[in-house]
């Protein structure tokens, strides 16, 4: 990457053009998720709202004006609640959104806050019946005496209306904060994970869930580890993985036992004794775990690195990518201002050849697993005029050789963090949440996934 012409077509950062800057001024975006076709993009925010964007169909007249994303629907998913027993507020912030695979004309998604998961149905209405016998056009009941003949109501086209309705509410199953939800490949069940437990639900049954993982110690004094993320295998409906605050991954098989406390595989990288510090454990805590689309690999994110694991090798990761190693010498300050606890997410591209994750200063990083090249890009209004090509950024160590446009570690803005990113399932389109702004970038030159 860098300034030279990029010969490899796979990750041509120069092709990424900012499509639109969708500003959701009111609130900070807390989750971003494409649906299975990439036609819809959902975002959740701290205010409990969900905004769904839809991609416009490609226009034949302008081949390069590939579909842009426009707002499709907005609704309030969760409201703030008050737990009277503990005298505490339950935040309405949407922690995760997961789409269900589409089975009919309607779309379904699961959204969750700290305590409650909801299933929403998103459907379109573009026709309405007209010509009722008993009601007039405004819906008022007609005076029977005025009805002289019968008519058959007909469906007439109307302006498109998107209706969102809550279909299921899965409540009261979590004592701790829900951090992940994952839909199973059987399309019937899904799981929800909180800090200490994972529950298995059936999508149609809201009054019951099965506990499949419980790491709460008998004596809470002994608590030293929590669950940080969990996901089902994309193809094998019996397998799922969960990550912990100690940097371990556990692959569990639901066929083995009803309670999957005993893992089938434990993925853990042995600690490097020379790099040990008081912050070793904190920076090893896994903030996100994602299966590859193939189901063969796992992508994990901890504070400073992103790692790709092979499901067949538990002893160490296959690949380790340094996201922002220049922060290693600043861990104490980052601990002091709590930034060290930031949970960054990670994403695969559709062909599992490129991984992406966010960083500070509104930077996000992409790593090409094949060419081993990486790039740092910035999501900001100043540097992203529509149709402009993103310029790669570079962070240099303080006092190091500095090129023009480089930014020094000390000038990084730690309040501008990109925690949530998503990659279109088939194309080179990415969605980046920068605080309360959503950026959608498209690689126009390389729309096909390689």
């Amino acid at each position: 990457m860098g300034e030279d012409t990029d010969a490899t077509p796979t990750l041509n950062h120069r092709g990424f053009l900012p499509d639109h800057n969708y500003v959701t001024e009111a609130d900070i975006i807390s989750t971003v998720e494409f649906n299975h076709t990439g036609e819809l993009l959902a975002t959740g925010d701290k205010g409990g709202r969900v905004v769904i964007f839809q991609r416009e169909p490609e226009s034949k007249t302008e081949p390069f004006s590939q579909g842009e994303y426009n707002v499709y629907s907005t609704f309030q998913s969760h409201e703030p609640e008050f737990d009277y027993l503990k005298s505490l507020e339950i935040e309405e912030k949407i922690n995760k959104i997961r789409w269900l695979p589409q089975q009919n004309a309607a779309h379904f998604l699961l959204s969750t806050n700290d305590k409650t998961i909801k299933l929403w149905k998103v459907s379109e209405r573009d026709k309405r019946p007209e010509g009722y016998n008993l009601k007039d056009e405004e819906g008022r009941i007609k005076d029977i005496s005025t009805v002289t003949s019968l008519q058959v109501p007909v469906l007439k086209p109307m302006d498109l209306m998107v209706e969102v309705s809550p279909r299921r509410v899965f409540a009261n199953a979590h004592t701790y904060h829900v951090n992940s939800i994952s839909v199973n490949s059987d399309y019937e069940t899904y799981m929800s994970a909180d800090d200490l437990r994972i529950n298995l639900w059936h999508l149609d049954i809201t009054d019951r869930s099965f506990n499949i993982v419980d790491i709460k110690p008998a004596n809470m004094e002994d608590l030293t580890e929590v669950i940080t993320a969990a996901e089902f295998h994309p193809h094998h409906c019996n397998l799922f993985v969960y990550s912990s605050s100690k940097g371990t991954l556990r692959l569990c098989d639901m066929r083995e036992a009803a309670l999957c406390d005993k893992h089938s595989k434990l993925f853990e990288e042995p600690e490097d004794p020379s790099a040990r510090s008081f912050f070793s454990e904190i920076i090893s805590s896994v903030s996100d775990v994602k299966f590859s689309h193939s189901g063969r690999y796992l992508l994990t994110r901890d504070y400073l690195t992103a790692k790709v694991w092979d499901l067949n090798m538990e002893s160490k990761p296959l690949e380790t990518y340094q996201v922002h190693d220049y922060l290693r010498s600043k861990l104490c300050s980052l601990y002091e201002n709590d930034c060290i606890f930031d949970k960054f997410e990670c994403a695969w591209n559709g062909s599992d050849s490129v991984i992406m994750t966010g960083a500070y200063n509104n930077f996000f990083r992409m790593f090409d697993r094949n060419t081993k090249r990486d790039v740092t890009l910035e999501a900001s209004r100043e540097s992203s005029k529509p149709r402009a090509v993103l310029k790669p950024r570079r962070v240099c160590a303080a006092g190091g050789k500095r090129r023009k446009d480089d930014i020094s570690v000390d000038s990084l803005d730690f309040t501008k963090k990109i925690l949530h990113t998503a990659w279109h399932p088939n194309e080179n389109i990415i969605a980046i949440a920068a605080t309360n702004n959503l950026y959608i970038f498209q690689d126009k030159l390389n729309s096909e996934m390689h």
């Binding site: 503990k86 580890e225 002091e336």
Partner: protein, 306 residues
């Protein structure tokens, strides 16, 4: 990041005794210098910062369990290291020496359980536990007057023997967590607390008998103590109102970790008092708590009398 240097500045063999828990202040300071002073200062400031982080949870919403666990693990790690270095014993005993004897009754189930355990176990400090003891909380109750539906009693203990100092040193902070409630709003309570801290025991009846505050008077109670003023105090209408919805689930450890109630407000002053006594870096390390600390600084000065 923290170079683990144990550069000894004094190579006399006489200094060897230091690590075994010599109680003289001279030996204490020598021990502190046997390892690289910058490392131990850094470590100390990290410890202080961590403890403050655990204390100052945001009480409006349930605190983040992952963050709390990670901080607690860090504290535990430091504690273990300091124990191995022998600085742990020295620090707690130095604090013991510095404190005036307690007239106030000090109570903690934490202490109670560890009394039995540690009395047999001797010197080995109980590893810092994230949650301050579930059983402790179950049997620990608070005397509340009047309008509280559930009436509970706090068990009291006389000050424990010195060898338990390390055991209780850290048990408190996490357990003290629940008591940290909106400092900004509870102005009156703060004042009450301040007065209580200043005066001695007998005034204890005043105001916030419902408050739990860390009492670092006796050495062993550096962190792990809850203080109860007895006998039951006269009604304070404000406090009565505040605590009217308290219930025993407050003492359930799940509640402690995942949701603190808006009840007893812990005095931060005592904790900071103890912090200040063993390092100038204690208060300077936490930028995030600076606004709270400025306020507390002033009060602390009055308490400590510096």
């Amino acid at each position: 990041m923290f170079p683990k240097g144990t550069k000894r500045k004094f190579s006399d063999s006489g200094e060897e005794q230091v690590s075994s828990g010599d109680q003289s202040p001279v030996a204490a300071s020598v021990a502190a210098r046997t390892m690289s002073s910058s490392y131990s200062l850094q470590r100390q400031s990290l410890l202080d910062m961590s403890l403050i982080k655990l204390q100052l949870c945001h009480m409006l919403v349930e605190p983040n369990l992952c963050r709390s666990v990670l901080i607690a693990n860090t504290v535990r790690q430091i504690q273990e290291e300091m124990t191995q270095d022998g600085t742990w014993q020295i620090m707690t005993q130095a604090l013991a020496a510095a404190q005036c004897p307690a007239d106030r009754l000090v109570a903690t189930e934490v202490l109670c359980r560890q009394t039995d355990a540690a009395a047999q176990a001797g010197q080995s400090p109980k590893p810092f536990s994230v949650v301050g003891l579930e059983e402790g909380y179950h049997s620990e109750e608070v005397v509340m007057e009047g309008d509280v539906e559930t009436e509970v009693t706090m068990s009291t203990l006389s000050p424990v023997s010195p060898q338990l100092s390390s055991a209780s040193y850290l048990a408190g902070p996490f357990g003290m967590g629940p008591c940290w409630e909106e400092d900004e709003e509870e102005g009156e309570c703060e004042e009450d607390e301040e007065e209580d801290s200043e005066e001695c025991v007998s005034e204890g009846e005043e105001a916030d008998q419902d408050h739990l505050s860390a009492d670092s008077r006796t050495g062993e109670q550096v962190f792990g103590t809850f203080e109860i003023k007895h006998p039951a105090p006269p009604q304070d209408p404000v406090l009565g109102e505040l605590f009217s919805d308290v219930d025993p689930s407050y003492y359930d450890l799940d509640t402690v970790l995942t949701g603190m109630q808006s009840t007893p407000k812990m005095g931060p002053y005592d904790l900071l008092e103890s912090l200040s006594s063993h390092g100038p870096t204690a208060l300077s390390s936490s930028a995030s708590c600076r606004s709270d600390l400025n306020e507390l600084d002033h009060i602390m000065e009055i308490i400590v009398g510096s």
